[in-house]
């Protein structure tokens, strides 16, 4: 039974966002009997609504509110108004994520210690280590049904994977498999096995891929302790004279504004909107924005070192058939500075349909060189390169007072400059990715630049000391005890791995902490 709470009910936990962090936290709290109002800016789209058509789906589920960009990253030139590709819908970006579910490595929680001083990088050790997160990784893997954990078999390899695997073996890589994926390889949790439909990025029409949209959210609603308000776009977080947050102002579908009272507020709107909301909530008591005594809100924006390699072969591959992210090589994810950079990266297969390939293979390119690549589309294989990027204080989300959104609020500007370490890692990864395909017989390879960011991290980072970051090891803001951050913006550093499993693990852990704090009346 879906709950319904009053606007003036100040006993509820208000969660802003229903993705991997917010959606998981909402369900975990509801399962404990805690009343939750989840405010979701987007609408509710379920598998039957998903469109297996790249641009149609993009228009249906993407976050397309006004944003601006600056910095030397190529995205700012090619997609000036689209710094990131994330979802505005119940389920957030778990609707379009690929499903890769990897644990961070131990050293990735203490990069300042392990990597040492890296010029220009604002490295910091996490206030937690792998051992503290391991029990929650266990719970997260069970929740998501991650393949190759808990006795769940791996997914079968598709054509794109087979080319990738063959090349990687010839190059000498050892740790090659079809991934740890939150995609059912056999029926589980009331959801079917993967039908190799493709279009993982457009929402899984079979529901084989885990998404909070049709797991955590309905599970939480079934407890009677969770109310999800759709098309509820949060404008600001309010606080009382003691500096504790006490309500959230949002606009409904018709633009009417409402104030939902709250005992606790969790921000989980992804790493651009979350800091933007804290900054837009500035008041006379907090003139620099909420939770911003450190000045770190919006800073240290990370997006992972990314790039792709596509390759053409003399015979058909048909990479689009089946799971989009169908396999991984993890040999390069280690920290080995002899390669010329700190941190590591993963090779993960990827495919795009013709519409997106035309847009992303080499944005802005035209003429025969470009079109002859597309003419080889049927013979193409593809991989994504994803690795740790360096946090930099100057890479940041700020308020652009010259550009307003549909509610008249300053839009976020996303500034990003590649760190030399990011550039060195990308160059190495492009070379190694091309070697994999050349070993498999590629006749031509294409080093493809980064897409608009899907992994947005670090803009409300976790720190032991309040002067170094925005939240503590529980995701609780250093400045305001009843204000939490529950998405990837709390990441201290980005690690080489896809972030969702860690976001989920942190949310499960945070739910335990919030419940305990409520019981003891600490907050």
């Amino acid at each position: 039974m879906t709950a319904k709470f009053e606007l003036n009910d100040d006993s509820v936990v208000v969660i802003i966002g229903t993705g991997a962090g917010g959606g998981t936290l909402a369900n975990e709290l509801a399962q404990k009997g805690i009343n939750v109002v989840a405010l979701e800016a987007g609408g509710r789209h379920l598998p039957q609504d998903y469109q297996n058509d790249e641009w149609a789906s993009f228009g249906q589920i993407s976050w397309l509110d006004s944003r601006t960009t600056s910095g030397d990253w190529r995205v700012a030139k090619d997609f000036a108004g689209l710094p990131s590709w994330i979802v505005k819908a119940v389920g957030g970006s778990t609707v379009h994520w690929a499903g890769a579910s990897l644990r961070f490595q131990e050293h990735e929680f203490k990069t300042k210690t392990v990597y040492g001083d890296v010029l220009g990088a604002n490295l910091l050790d996490w206030p937690i280590g792998l051992s503290e997160l391991e029990p929650y990784y266990d719970l997260a893997e069970k929740k998501l049904g991650v393949t190759r954990t808990n006795g769940i078999p791996g997914l079968p390899g598709n054509n794109n994977y087979k080319v990738f695997e063959a090349g990687a073996k010839k190059v000498g890589y050892k740790d090659i498999h079809t991934g740890r994926m939150a995609i059912n390889s056999e029926p589980r949790d009331g959801r079917p096995a993967c039908q190799q439909t493709g279009f993982c990025f457009q929402g899984c029409k079979f529901g084989a891929k885990w998404s909070t949209a049709y797991t955590e959210i309905p599970n939480g609603e079934a407890t009677g302790h969770l109310e999800v308000r759709e098309h509820a776009h949060v404008l600001r977080i309010e606080h009382d004279k003691n500096g504790r947050v006490n309500g959230v102002l949002y606009a409904d579908k018709d633009g009417n504004q409402h104030l939902q009272k709250a005992r606790i507020v969790s921000v989980a709107g992804n790493s651009i909107e979350s800091p933007r909301l804290l900054l837009n909530s500035a008041s006379s008591m907090f003139p620099e924005g909420l939770a911003n005594s450190s000045g770190q809100v919006g800073r240290n924006y990370m997006r992972h070192m990314t790039a792709s390699v596509y390759a053409a072969f003399d015979r058909p591959v048909r990479m689009w058939r089946g799971t989009t992210m169908a396999g991984i090589v993890t040999d390069e994810s280690k920290h080995d500075p002899s390669r010329g950079f700190v941190g590591g990266f993963e090779f993960e297969t990827l495919s795009l349909g013709i519409p997106f390939m035309a847009a992303f293979l080499n944005p802005g390119a035209w003429g025969r060189e470009f079109t002859s690549a597309l003419d080889s589309y049927e013979n193409m294989a593809g991989m994504w390169l994803v690795g740790e990027d360096m946090p930099q204080e100057t890479n940041r989300v700020t308020l652009n007072h010259d550009v307003k959104d549909q509610y008249g609020l300053p839009s976020p500007n996303v500034h990003f400059d590649d760190h030399p370490n990011d550039t060195a890692m990308r160059a190495y990864a492009w070379k190694k990715g091309a070697e994999i395909y050349e070993a498999a017989g590629a006749t031509r390879t294409y080093p493809t630049p980064p897409y608009p960011s899907t992994h947005n991290l670090g803009t409300n980072r976790m720190s032991a000391k309040p002067s170094d970051g925005v939240v503590n090891k529980w995701g609780q803001s250093h400045d305001i005890a009843n204000l939490f951050v529950s998405d990837g913006s709390q990441f201290t550093t980005g690690a080489a791995e896809n972030p969702t499993l860690t976001i989920v693990a942190l949310a499960i852990r945070q739910a335990d902490f919030i419940a305990e704090q409520m019981t003891t009346k600490a907050i």
Binding site: N52, D53, E54, W55, P156, G157, N158, N159, K162, V163, A166, C194, Q195, Q196, T197, G198, F199, K205, F206, R315, P316, V317, R318, W320, R321, G322, G353, I354, P355, M357, A358, A359, G364, W366, G367, R368, F370, T371, L374, D375, Y377, E378, A440
Partner: protein, 154 residues
Amino acid sequence: MMGASLAVGSSFVAGSSAAWAMETQHVSPKQMATLIQMARDIYPHNQIADEYYARAVKGYDTAESAGNVANGIQAIDAAAQGRGYADYLSVPWEADRVEILKSMEQSAFFQTIRGNLITGLYNQQDVWPLFGYEGESYTKGGYLNHGFDDINWI
């Protein structure tokens, strides 16, 4: 009309095989033929017929766009004349037309035409099979039983 495989009439532009024709209202048939040739020269695919390029640029045949189209094509024709040709459509080799386009690559006109072609051309579902792309598989139950792992040469 020489240069391209397009026939330009008084109020329409047509494929030379007469398999298709498009009436124009706000831009001249010759301007539309130039846009179609430009589209092909920007994203040349020998397996894609003019009709699809025509569809990709027919959106410029509006009162709102007509002025910019006229100015842009005037510039491109002037560039062709500077190289000794009557107009852009009279330049016989693609490489020479591409040189003209490169000379105006930074112009708003060129960038608008190029940018809109990304979806205007490649998001036509009829074009996808010309690249071998099969698109959605949900309606047939996914690729699980339709070749997701049928590669036989690796």
